[in-house]
Symmetry: C2
Subunit: 327 residues, 2 copies
């Protein structure tokens, strides 16, 4: 454990990395881990799945609300969800971290612990095989994640067919409710993000805050869906409405959702759910954890709710929605 006054700037990259490496999760797939010019990862399938997603201080998180452990967890979880959405088993991560020189070493260690605990809980066997540490005023966490298809075809967004059942696995709207709570009540008298105010929302809103700050996407259900015959699948990260429309357009079909099955309006338009949206042929049983929320039809590609075209955007768009605050 680093001393309280040690920072990225005072210790330097080498010492920081020596403190972080032992805390990072091992990957069962790592044939060569961190420390050389590159890592070597097993790809027994002869292919690998790869995705990258970045968390940026300001548009993606506030330090008054997210602790280092939660950020490490969320950076892992959001990338693992994209691997799972292909029907793949997550095998490894690499992490490019940009942090201010004043960042305490103990904070970086807690971030590493969050990566470890996120992997251990959501995708046992997946670990960190490499990374890069840079200094800058703006805290940024770029994760790239890998998965193995175990010989299966990847499950694309484009495979939904008329007659398929639309199904969801995971919570909808809870993460958006958590974010709304933070913006409304996790702030000081001037409206700025405030750690004490946010802490006051617990334990009443534990589930909402955890869904937003340290989400638990149903990673193992991605492989289960692929094995269960899913025709299309995607990670719902920008709100169900926006992502369902994307799947509909990629498949050239209509997705018609049943509002009663979806739940609240926030379930339809809230972001960062990291639920799995999938379509299945009508004659197969839905894998454990999936519940039906609609049907696929022929027609002009797009989203309908209860049979009516649904054009509201929903979701979180940092280009449109970020107010420039960091906190």
């Amino acid at each position: 454990m680093a001393a309280a006054d040690e920072t990225l700037g005072s210790l330097g990259e080498g010492a920081i990395l020596r403190g972080i490496f032992p805390r990072l999760p091992d990957a069962a797939s790592a044939l060569l881990g961190p420390g050389d010019d590159a890592a070597v990862v097993a790809a027994p399938d002869g292919r690998f799945v790869v995705t990258t997603d970045t968390l940026v201080h300001g548009p993606d998180f506030r330090l008054a609300w997210s602790g280092a452990h939660q950020l490490g967890w969320k950076a892992a979880a959001s990338n693992l969800a994209d691997v799972a959405a292909m029907g793949a088993r997550p095998t490894a991560l690499v992490v490019a971290l940009v942090a201010p020189a004043s960042t305490p070493a103990a904070w970086l260690e807690a971030l590493a612990d969050g990566l470890r605990d996120g992997c251990a809980t959501l995708a046992p066997g997946c670990g960190v095989v490499g990374g890069d540490l840079s200094v800058s005023d703006q805290l940024t966490i770029a994760v790239t994640a890998f998965g193995d298809l175990d010989g299966r075809d990847p499950v694309l967004r484009s495979g939904a067919r008329s007659g398929d059942v639309v199904a969801i696995c995971g919570e909808l709207g809870l993460a958006a409710r958590g974010l709304a709570l933070l913006f409304a009540r996790g702030v000081d008298a001037d409206g700025h993000p405030d750690a004490r105010a946010a802490a006051g929302l617990r334990p009443e809103f534990d589930r909402e805050l955890d869904a937003q700050l340290a989400p638990q996407p149903p990673i193992a259900s991605g492989v289960a869906a692929a094995r269960g015959g899913a025709t299309a699948m995607m990670d719902v990260s920008d709100g169900l409405a926006l992502d369902a429309r994307r799947l509909a357009e990629a498949s050239g079909a209509v997705l018609d959702l049943d509002s009663a099955a979806v739940g609240s309006p926030l379930a339809l338009t809230g972001g960062e759910d990291h639920a799995l949206l999938a379509t299945f042929p009508p004659d197969v049983p839905l894998p454990s954890g999936f519940r039906p929320i609609g049907r696929v039809h022929d027609g002009s590609p797009g989203l309908r709710v209860d049979g009516r075209p649904f054009d509201a955007r929903g979701g979180w768009d940092p280009y449109a929605d970020w107010d420039g605050g960091v906190g």
Copy 2:
């Protein structure tokens, strides 16, 4: 081509990506390219090599000196060099870009062109299979690169043995000379990075500036070295002295360099060469492009020059050397 007044903020992520995707280099290894939750990349070897390296505005580049095309090129080149240093053939990249909302769309397109031209020149067949675009005040380019070992063992830093020849492939000191020229003469009267002053250094210093701003690491020589029996290899990015010391320590051996063969003092301590440092058994011919610069001996692990211990650090350390300027 985007209109002059179109920016990341005005166009939004979707429109920007539609403009960038067609400009990005295709990867021969891409079984599924950008546009789904994740890409799928061929790994015929059953393993893949992976490395990640980030360029941050300020410590790693100044916009007054580096154009978008050069930045795209350099982001590709620095990562391809790490793949090559394992003895692997680069197959694919993913790119996580964080840019201010005010960034012109045409600038982002030029960055994509630089990625394309860098891949086409340095590693034909390698291309971009995915990415992420985020908005933030600080421009950051995080690239993750992949390679295939074609059935060979990776060439580690730890394999140098007593009696081996130390050899280098690529230019030493030229990139550091380019950076020194920019800091000395590529500035305005107040010492701030200045595009016009930097342009005035061309054509007299084309080679030095290109080595710094758009380097051409000897990527194909990585595979050639592996095939030619290299016992250890690494990318020289932090200065020959610092990196040779790392290789010596990883191998538990002495690297003794011949100063006359190395060249100028800047060749020993300058950074960002992206040359390949390798060791070869004494009885094998050096692959084309490699020249001998020293020998490996038994002894207390470390670096010597002309038989004397060499402890100067050399190289560029953003934690110690960055003055906080951006330009």
